[in-house]
Amino acid sequence: MKQRSYLALEDITVEFPTRGGSFCALDTINLSIEKGQFVAIIGHSGCGKSTLLNAVAGLVKPSKGVIFLDDGVVDAPGPDRAVVFQDHSLLPWLTVEENVRLAVDKTADGKSKAERKEWVLHNLELVQMVHAATKRPGELSGGMKQRVGIARAIAMNPRVLLMDEPFGALDALTRAALQDVVMDLQARLNNTVLMITHDVDEAVLLADRVVMMTNGPAARIGEDRAVNLARPRNRIEAIDSADYAEARHAVIHFLHERYRNPTVLAA
């Protein structure tokens, strides 16, 4: 019997019931992710990337197939699979510290109050947001909110960190700053990460593996490519390296030649 990977998606099919019959979003997806691996999933809008991530999070139940995490079966959402949402999803009536604290309280069993507070501040420190601990999300910029969203997720000490287009709503410069934060965190914590993105550079820069999805409906994994850049990574060094250029080339060819955006084809 073969050894199962840390996170293993086996024959995952997701169908949604619609008025005109069932809509197949994902068709028999098989994906194995090792512990400590950073995997980016890229594809055009509507290809089911988010559905795949939600299935791993437990927010969407697959119609067929099983997801294994650390040899346990995933069948409900839980704090061992922390999610960084695209819209940050901070609770506006709690301060930054309380938002992170809510997550910490659910995951830090047996820790004292002081230890929990320290852990909250430590995680805010990692994303450079300690200065805003007493502020409410409404007082923060989009980039700062997403930093807090990341702090909340990593504070849960998740077995897998799921990021659903975490920087999709940010401007290019803020996005770059947050990518640096993620690279820094990855160098320190070596989390197992599954990240959805539609940004080629983001995928290649951050991930060890870029999983490219075909266009939906019934999306599949089209190509699965390793990015052989040494860690810790640096944006400037990376863009000058041949590996980076090669991986970027491959992803762009996949997205814009082999599987062009269906809406562009229709136009």
Binding site: D87, S89, L91, M156
Partner: protein
């Protein structure tokens, strides 16, 4: 450094030596006239410096239009109804004929160590009647708020409960308060409890429906956060649902308090005995139209105050939640 322009290539010394001669060759720079510079400094506008003065100014600025409007309306009213053969009393006549009601509102009301006492019957000032009514509103509205929020959360949270109860609520909420009176009297046999029931049944619908909408419209994002954090039902209720629903809840509570105040006057008018509604009915029967006008002013002010209190409570709770 190889520059493509002849200017920089042929005259390297000119550009390095100083920019003033080069500039004067291209165009003469006229100095900005001294008088014009002097004109740019405006004398400072005298500002009130004392914080109390600043505050007083702000209050005056916001209250002045209201005061002017009130005085204007009173003058207009006096001009229209001032003649002796007018059917409707003028402000001066109201002041003269209802002088006792206006000046002695707390007649028959006694506050001592054992609490507030309002004379059971006889000559009670208008404030006494208003307080009696307020007491009824407090009980009826209080019950309506608690039951309404509970039912609202129930039908907001459970699709089954919504389908079962919402049609019923939608039908019942259109029934006018007074239509409940015969039933209420038949069941409770007494004026006091039936008035309270009337308030309850009037105020509860907006509370239920607004709370339900609030619960139903909790953003999916917050629900997903709750799921990922694996909050238990109690934590979900206190940490997500209540704070997310508070604004809707208080919209319902605000509408409800206004409606309960409407209902109490109607209920007391019919039932008699005590309360501001009775006061109006009594003054009508005694042909004291001026007393009715005084009562209207009292009712308006109290209703306004109730609305503001609930709004303020909503703001405070939304901030601390």
């Amino acid at each position: 450094m190889a520059s493509p322009t002849n200017n920089a290539a042929s005259e390297p010394s000119a550009s390095a030596g100083g920019s003033a001669p080069a500039a004067s060759q291209r165009g003469v720079i006229v100095p900005y006239p001294e008088t014009a510079i002097a004109r740019r400094f405006f004398p400072p506008i005298p500002q009130p410096t004392h914080p109390l003065m600043v505050k007083a100014r702000a209050v005056a600025a916001s209250a002045l239009p209201t005061l002017v409007m009130i005085v204007g309306l009173l003058l207009l009213w006096q001009m229209l109804c001032g003649s002796p053969e007018s059917n409707f009393p003028s402000p001066v006549k109201v002041w003269q004929e209802s002088h006792d009601v206006i000046v002695h509102p707390f007649k028959g009301v006694e506050v001592n160590a054992s609490g507030l006492h309002i004379q059971e019957s006889g000559d009670v000032g208008i404030a006494g009647h208003v307080l009696t009514s307020l007491g009824r509103v407090l009980i009826g509205y209080g019950i309506a708020a608690v039951v309404g929020i509970a039912l609202g959360i129930l039908i907001g949270q459970s699709v089954f409960a919504f389908r079962a109860l919402d049609p019923l609520f939608q039908v019942l909420r259109t029934v006018p308060p007074l239509a409940w009176l015969p039933l209420s009297l038949a069941v409770f046999q007494q004026a006091g409890p039936s008035a309270i029931f009337l308030i309850f049944i009037t105020a509860i619908w907006p509370v239920i429906l607004n709370t339900a909408v609030g619960v139903q419209t909790i953003p999916v994002a917050y629900r997903n956060v709750a799921k990922v954090l694996a909050l238990n039902p109690y934590e979900y209720f206190t940490r997500i649902m209540l704070p997310a629903t508070v604004p809707h809840m208080f919209t319902g509570l605000r509408i409800g308090v206004g409606m309960s105040w409407l209902a109490i006057v109607a209920a007391e008018m019919v039932q008699g005995g005590t309360g501001v509604g009775f006061f109006i009915w009594d003054s009508y029967n005694s042909s004291l139209l001026t007393d009715t006008i005084v009562a209207l002013v009292w009712i308006g002010m109290v209703g306004f105050t109730l609305d503001r209190i609930v709004a303020l409570a909503g703001r405070l709770i939304a901030r601390t939640a």
